[in-house]
Amino acid sequence: MDDLGSKPRGVSRRGLLGGAAVAGAAGAALGAAEAAGAAAPEQARAAAVRDPARAGAAEFQAPDTAAALTLDRSGSDFMVDVLKALGVRYVAANPGSTFRGLHESVVNYGGEAGPELITCLHEETSVAMAVGYALATGKPLAVFLHSNVGLQHASMSIYHAFADRVPVLMFAGNLIDADERRPLIEWLHASQDNGALVRDFVKWDDQPVSLAHFAESTVRAYDQAVSVPAGPVLISVDAKLQEEATTVGAEAIPRLNASLPPVGDLGAVRAVADQLCAAEAPVILADRYARTEAGMGLLVQLAELLGAPVIDAGGRNNFPTDHPLNLSFDRPRVVARADVILALEPVDLWGVLHRQTDQLAKTTRSAVSDKVKVLTLGTSDLGLHSNLQSFQRYVGVDASIVGDAEASLPVLIAAIQAGRTPAMKAAWAKRATALAEQSATIRTRDRAAARAGWGDSPVTTGRLCAELWEAIKDEDWVLTSSTFFVSMWPERLWKIDKPHQHICSLGAGGIGVGIGVAAGVALACKAQGRIAVNIQGDGDLLYAPGALWTAAHHRLPLLTVMHNNRAYHQELMHIQRMALRHQRDVGRSVIGTTLTDPSIDYAKLAEGMGVWAEGPVTSPDKLAPALRRAVAVVKSGRPALVDVHTEPR
């Protein structure tokens, strides 16, 4: 938020010494200072300007011409021109004085054609919205952050973006020149090195010292943010640079390079093709794979060509949930039988290849055959940083190809087509038929499982997701949330067969970003004519519920369905585990992990933010009508929330 620096300020060196009326004003102040016996005229001038009260308030005269106090074009206007040149459509921000120049330039100088300012109530939400928007559109959204305080508020979401390789273009205000800072608050909100606060988890950062430098660094930052592997970038923007007059124009803005993602070494990719052709039980594991709309189609082509099962590990929306070769929910059996595993942009490959127990004496066993060949194709190993361990456990594999998997797949597909014999083609078709039967069995099993406890209260997560599917299936929808906490029912029950339909972003695995990501997706949906569907954990929402107000304020088509299990349930289970390990009272695990007494009314919370809401729904028969009413509201261009008391998972 803005600072508290409301003390009388006089005229700063910024405005005074650069203006035409310097001589008169400073001369008056200087006269008083000299009369007081100041030694050197220059020192006295500076002292008087900094501290008019010391020089004598009666003698201190403000400049009497507006020219000394106003200007026509500021550095921040030029900065907005840079954002326009990059095609940035939105800026998400919670206001802060260190970027007041930029803020005002966006809303006035930028005008209708400039980036639209999205009002956020917490910086964690600002960055989370940028994550959702980027995943829904492929384009970064700009975020303005207040120095120190705002940047630290944002840090969790920045780590989320870093861990999930999502581009975010961030600008943090700062007042570098100590001599220019107002007393108290402006010192609290200034830093020697803004980027140091988050450098462990941004891809690149800079603190430019001129407007030309700003333009170059911002274009470079954008390029870095979107190039593979993508990530958040930070420009520290000097307040003085924002607020001073300038004549710098568009000629100072470099052209943005269209960086192409790296394709894996062609010889190595062809060798992978040979191994896949020779395999009897190949398995394709896709994690943070599908980078563009083309990714899902390419993977379908590869799987159908080989007649190979696909395990979608969920880092992105990689493969149609109802495809006959989708064996994601029979993973242990499929992986155990594999003789070749091709991992595309793996995130936690070790976790796929092993089983480890969370017991006092940890045991680890292999989840795969000792004869399996593991081949990786991806960019996960690029851009590692040292401190935060989001890179997961190191795995020795049979071939590790560095290259963007999606960009490399056409080469792989062509190589397989070239090497395929008629006998292989027949064998692969037979394999595909058997796998289709296997996946159909799994889908039938899951549909039946979702009916279990259909009439129970609290509502089962199976019914929650089944009813939600019925309410949205005929709309143009996008699921914005991770489904792990609802037992992955959407993937098990819904037909998710279009690339845009599921924004998967486990990110850093923290909570507090879900509602912001959902709002960012909804911002994209608004222009796309879609509705955003968010299955929202209660604990997550409470970190930053102000995102609901942002959704209402900006008329975002966001349907939020509360998975209200009244607890930080993952943590509850952890405390239970500790109690049982220590042979103590497991019943007391509810202390510090549950959200009851009083029960939180999320419908009232949402209504207070201007969001249409119903609930809490405790009777399962009342769920479907409530969802239908909510969908109608969202289709009219307003957010809606349905609170549902649910089973824990």
Binding site: G453, M573, T596, P648
Partner: protein, 105 residues
Amino acid sequence: MARLVSTAPLAAALALLSGAAAQAAPASQPPSGKDLYAARGCSACHGTHGLGSISGPRLAGTPLPFEAFATQVRNPRAQMPPYSRQVLSDAELRLIYDFIKTQTP
């Protein structure tokens, strides 16, 4: 071995873990299998009615004989935390087993 677990937080645990359907046993009565299933945290992973979730398999109507069920609870395979007799007596375990056997899978 004496059981250290008190029943004091039972009502609070039931209120959370069993949701609206749960009714704590009157103080004068021993807890039922359903009460214990909730209060000892089984429902957190396996669901209020034992239907299972991504955190724990389905228990409702389990085909396991009691001895096999008890072995899994006392010396679990994989991720399930161990329930020693210090936190769950044999009698209580039996009540829980009888409860989940009655649940519709």
